[in-house]
Symmetry: C2
Subunit: 221 residues, 2 copies
DNA sequence: TGAATAGTGTCTGTAAGACAATATTCC
DNA sequence: GGAATATTGTCTTACAGACACTATTCA
């Protein structure tokens, strides 16, 4: 009576060489067997406590990545998006520092720049575009980009991450004022040895309470 | 292999007496027959072109309301939210001026203030809270509240709508500056005759291109 | 004319960006 | 010391809120 295919898809995003990339995998099954697509799969009612749980399971199974920042994006549906029939995909996006993907070292994961034209099966192109727009939009007024940085980072590194996402240079003084205002970073005793012959930068870490909780800015950027 | 119940629910919101209200209906069937809940129902793969289409169909069937502002909210899922089994609800929120609900005149629709404690079946309480938070959040930096106003309205009326949603008085000059900056209102020749012994206010209408497209503010409010 | 609300002009304080000075490292 | 980048201080500009003045209606 209600034959709807129910799946989850994950847009795994990372920053490499100042470029935002999405992780694609060659599909192991029909439809579109062998074609690069978003990691996704059926919800397993017997093991998943909810769709987010399913997304985490699918992502871990296909890429080896655990406990990323993961947030629901939107749900895509309709009779034509999947050749198997009327389907629903609850889409999530995950943010991970590049070295985590490298370390997981899954050989089938391909990283592709989101700013090149993508050719993807299903409606995965629209899903990726929605995720990128969401990330870039939220970056303007939240701590979201922090999840693309590693465990520890310097303010100049973090500023370059923000700038890569927004696609424009930011005022250094304003950026630092905002980070101070957000009050979510904790300086670490040691210092960055870093890129050579110049003053090293202070290392910071996200305060624990912001490890999985965004900090928002009242007035943006 | 993939027995997931797939439904849509609609949080229909309106403003009456400066108070945000949600529309509830007595359920006609089990589970929770006779209990007030959000309008919702199964996706009908044979007639619905996507979940939004299903939400519009369900809303119209149960309340008689057509073509409201409707936006996807989030998807709720899990084994326990519906006693029938593992389920997915793709939730939408709709904004309608109160007189539209009044005119539709569906006898079973009850309007309840969202700021009173709600007791609702399923996880409808969480869905309503998510919708209210989304509306209030977006109101701070977008034209979203305009959809709670009628076809034509004055700036003082619109300001009262914004103030009701945000729960705090707004600066009149700033508010008008922002509305001008958004450039989405068109003055109408006639004027408000209005509340009696004082200068009448200019009537405005949303420019057609913003009839279903939000206008965003770079710096909020 | 007085009461009431609409609409506008202007001043002030705050916050964002520009600029530049100082700090610290390695060579 | 010189080069390079981090960090901080300060000035300028833009914008948001406060206040008050004018405008228009009805009684």
């Amino acid at each position: 009576m209600n034959q709807v295919i129910c799946t989850v898809d994950v847009v795994l995003l990372t920053l490499k060489d100042e470029t935002l990339k999405v992780a694609l995998l060659k599909r192991e099954r029909e439809p579109f067997k062998g074609v690069a697509a978003l990691p996704g799969g059926y919800i397993h009612p017997n093991e998943d406590m909810d769709a987010q749980d399913a997304a985490l399971r699918v992502l871990n199974a296909k890429t080896g990545i655990e406990a990323p920042y993961l947030e629901q994006l939107a749900t895509f549906s309709g009779p034509a998006r999947d050749p198997r029939g009327w389907s629903v995909s609850i889409a999530y996006y995950a943010l991970v520092p590049y070295h985590i993907i490298e370390k997981a070292g899954h050989p089938d994961v391909k990283l592709v720049s989101v700013d090149r034209p993508l050719v993807l099966p299903f409606d995965h192109k629209a899903i990726v575009e929605t995720a990128v727009a969401r990330l870039r939009g939220k970056s303007q007024y939240s701590s979201l980009p922090c999840y693309l940085a590693g465990d520890t980072f310097t303010l100049p590194q973090l500023q370059r991450i923000y700038e890569s996402l927004m696609g424009e240079p930011l005022n250094k003084v304003s950026f630092r004022r905002k980070m101070t205002e957000m009050d979510m970073l904790k300086p670490i005793e040691g210092q960055m040895e870093a890129a050579g012959a110049h003053r090293p930068a202070q290392l910071y870490r996200l305060k624990p309470e912001f490890r999985h909780q965004l900090q928002l800015l009242a007035r943006g950027l």
